[in-house]
Symmetry: C2
Subunit: 385 residues, 2 copies
């Protein structure tokens, strides 16, 4: 097992009808900015419920945060906060709104060009406004971690930052808030959570037995409930299990003491930034190809994955690994998520530009062994076509 630090002060408030607890969770007298994405939050009544929960506090709203939150939009929220002197943020939405809120929280009092926050990957963040979240889309885990992904439209850059200062103070997870989600977004959430676990699990063994079993428990649960969450949007327990699984998939727990990969995410980010493909869909295309290309380095964990997640115990090692990778692909496709880049309109001619962007962003030695060079990323993209 590797040495680790683990610290996660976010308070999770989980269950039906928990939005009303905002009054107890947000400081009395806070001057609040609600940040949200599209108008569905207003249409389905969540915004009104949130405002009711906030009682007599001064409340402002900032909508329009994009599915891949942009620096340009977020800086408008920063200006509003500065103009109105607000001191508490409340993200209402999914990972994009929460990621955007983290950037805004860190940018408000940032003593310099706030884009430095992204370029330093958070190292230059020394304070942030306090904020909470009301999660409506289970997927990214942002509701219980210190990470954030923000894009700059001007340069098509999509970068990650992390800081201890941007843990949410609290996150309200009410599974009934997910009933009205479009099914493709639910499918994306399953794929996103699944891939988060894989980035932290499918590396090489370090005798982290609990970490492996926790990761496997999350994967098994996603495989089990994938069809259920798609078939019955108002199945409370299925949605509750998805919501809690997605949070645990990326809250720092399963990675504590084990290696991590993240090359699938880094390659996927460039595909989203260049071509606007949904984040989860880039992962669905890149992950199986990535496992295929790097199957030798990942052999031991691939065999464990084959046995413990897909119950594959017959055949040669290579056959078992092959079936496990195919099973992953079939699982994603069963949710209606294509796993080939050609199904997203990309072909071999698009690869050079992706590689150039990876190079521009310093993504030249990715993965748990830092051996995913640009040449390996190219192989992965070719295998994903």
């Amino acid at each position: 097992m590797l040495n680790f630090d683990l610290h996660n002060p976010t308070r999770i408030v989980f269950g039906a009808k928990t939005v009303s607890r905002l009054d107890e969770l947000v400081p009395a007298g806070a001057r609040v900015l609600i940040l949200y994405g599209g108008e569905s939050a207003r249409r389905n009544g969540t915004l009104a419920e949130v405002r009711a929960g906030l009682g007599q506090r001064e409340v402002h709203e900032f909508g329009g945060i994009e599915p891949n939150p942009s620096y340009e939009t977020l800086m408008e929220a920063v200006a509003l906060i500065q103009r109105k002197g607000l001191n508490f943020l409340l993200a209402v939405g999914g990972g994009s709104v929460i990621d955007g809120t983290k950037f805004v929280a860190a940018a408000v009092d940032y003593p310099g060009d706030p884009w430095e926050i992204m370029e330093s990957h958070g190292a230059t963040v020394h304070r942030a406004l306090p904020f909470g979240t009301v999660l409506t889309l289970p997927a990214t885990g942002s509701e219980m971690n210190k990470g954030s992904v923000v894009s700059k439209k001007a340069t098509k850059a999509k970068l990650v930052f992390a800081s201890e200062h941007v843990f949410p103070r609290f996150s309200i997870l009410d599974p009934t808030k997910t009933y009205s989600l479009p099914l493709p977004q639910v499918a994306n959430g399953v794929v996103d959570a699944f891939t988060h676990v894989m980035e932290q699990y499918l590396t090489y063994p370090v005798d982290g037995r609990v970490q492996d079993r926790f990761a496997e428990g999350l994967l098994q649960t996603l495989v089990e409930i994938g069809a259920e969450v798609m078939a019955k949007p108002d199945n409370y327990d299925a949605r509750a299990n998805l919501m809690w699984t997605a949070t645990l998939a990326l809250n720092g727990l399963i990675v504590a003491g084990v290696p991590e990969d993240w090359s699938t995410h880094m390659i996927g980010h460039e595909l989203t930034a260049l071509h606007g493909i949904d984040h989860a869909r880039t992962l669905a295309a890149v992950l199986p190809a990535n496992l295929q290309v790097r199957r030798e380095a990942k052999r031991a964990k691939l065999l464990q994955y084959a046995e413990r997640i897909w119950n594959i115990t017959e055949g040669s090692e290579d056959e078992r690994i092959g079936i496990a990778i195919t099973s992953t692909r079939v699982f994603f496709e069963s949710l209606g998520v294509p796993t080939r880049l050609r199904e997203y309109g990309l072909n071999a001619g698009h690869i050079d530009e992706v590689i150039a962007q990876l190079e521009a962003h310093g993504m030249t030695a990715l993965g748990e062994h830092e051996d995913v060079t640009l040449a390996v990323s190219r192989q992965i993209l070719e295998a994903a076509l």
Copy 2:
């Protein structure tokens, strides 16, 4: 899945050679009291290492905290802190020292008779001194939770309190610090952690799939490493897995969203308070008997336990449940821990007094259905003889 709140701000610093990080973790200028148990902490060099880690800070020591920390002893530490004006506590030891330190932290500024802290089960605690821990015995999980058990010698009472104010600020978990433990203590730790998981897992199904799988992952790991930690005291990975498993067994995670039992613990506490039997050994005797007596109410989870932990899939339901309970008993005994009260010198004549103490402490409706009356506790004790 049940609604839940989850909040755990303790920072875990895990791995070999991490005691030296005290200098970064304890506030500069803190006036520190180190609390510890027996002299083994001094003999094996841990106290010296801790003092070195604390650098130039003012440091005092308080030793002699008992295996079941007593109110009487702990109040001496409270007096020392008040006399010297100390403002940071550092527990160096296992669960008893950490539990005791939690009580001391809450008692120092308590405006009334500090025993009220125990009688109110923590409800009257509104502040506590900050403290950290250096864990030397993996077992209780106290290093990452808000609970504490303290005994009063005068009345042979052993009570539990919990408060958000007594989460450790940090806990240092260095598996090498466990190498010198006497093997019976290591065995006790395995049994204690195993039983903690069972109290939160072996109740009734609420479709908490991740909670079940996490609990099962901890149980499977303990079954797997039990023999290893006993056979090779300096097997780093085995000790690391035990240490991390024991922490996760009782840090609020696996219980979030599911029912909990704790009747085995409550009955066990009385056995320790009356007869001085090691905490874990009372659990080893009570748990199998408890499962046996309440097998109907726990049927569904017992069958799941039989299949997922012990791979028992053949035979009638009752046969499978019987074998699972026997397997639990055999596992504890394989660690050298007897599972019959008669092996601890008790017989049917001792039961009345235990029942009287349970009644005196209000333990008349225990368990996940609050249906473990004094009559059921009596049945359990009889089955445990």
